[in-house]
Amino acid sequence: SQAAFNETFDAVRLAFEDVYSRLFPGGQAKMWQTDPTNLSETGIEISAQPPGKKMMPLATLSGGERAMTASALIFALVTVKPSPFYLLDEVDAAMDDANVERFSDMVREVASGAQLLLVTHNKKTMELAARMYGVTMAEPGISSVVAADLTPIREREPALA
């Protein structure tokens, strides 16, 4: 129904604008309906203003800025309508160290109730995980998976972590 759509939209918009300014301290984003009078046909527009810059079309944003902005949208949807699990495949590939840090902080906050599977090559992102699945090819062309539970090591020997 249109009322439900509008209610969901407002909740997501607020969450998106909030998460964005935490992933980009000093920045702000906007989300709006292209045609609020016609909720069954309206599009959803987004623009983003990284800290100190002007509101720019999304296409001009850098690779890392786009990854962070898209993450803000995903996190906003996560908070408004939780899904039983999330599976993110290398969403951090374009992020520099400072952005991975902020992304990690947001993941910890948002994931506290949820199940989150993160495929990554990034050592900082890996620190988020309580357990890891290592995928390798001992025999060429055949995947084999090894599970590692990381919490005991971290609790026993914090210096090693």
Partner: protein
């Protein structure tokens, strides 16, 4: 509902039966280039009813069945089973544990099962409608897709809110 386990056999590089158990919280999936991490993601999409071969990086159904390597022959079938803890009844199935299975044969169509009962693709899609795992949700973000999330047209984006509503 919670994700309990994933079992693969014959799906892409998973020529050996492989089972992953899932806990609450954050799980990392790591390993070298080409080892099979994104293939795991494809398997989860596939068993949840993904119909677009392109989003599975496949040209045709056969491409998702193990094609053999230098030592082993190709397999004739791929099977993926995803098991959920359904204690909260979020899935409209009269069981506290729900297992979704999808099978594909080289010569034939996909087969679908809910708790070992033969169903159609339609039933799988209906089952996950409104759970946040239906088509168009961003619960699963494939490799390289993060950029496309922002490239989509304004009218395409509305599906996020409809799925969410």
């Amino acid at each position: 509902m919670k994700l309990k386990s994933l079992r693969l056999f014959g799906f892409k590089t998973f020529a050996e039966q492989t089972t992953l158990e899932f806990e609450p919280g954050i799980t990392g999936i790591v390993g070298p280039n080409g080892s099979g991490k994104s293939n795991l993601v494809d398997a989860i999409r596939w068993v949840l009813g993904e119909q677009s071969a392109k989003s599975l990086r496949a040209g045709k159904t056969e491409d998702i069945i193990f094609a053999g390597n230098e030592k082993r022959k190709p397999l004739g079938m791929a099977e993926v089973a995803l098991t959920f803890d359904n204690a909260d009844g979020a899935l409209k199935v009269d069981a506290t544990e729900v297992q979704i299975t999808r099978r594909a044969y080289r010569a034939g169509e996909s087969e679908f099962f809910i708790n070992r009962q033969h169903v159609r693709l339609r039933d799988i899609i209906d089952l996950f409608m409104g759970t946040g795992l239906g088509p168009g949700s961003y619960s699963i973000v494939s490799q390289g897709q993060i950029d496309a999330i922002l490239s989509s047209k304004p009218t395409e984006r509305r599906s996020l809110f409809e799925e969410t509503a």
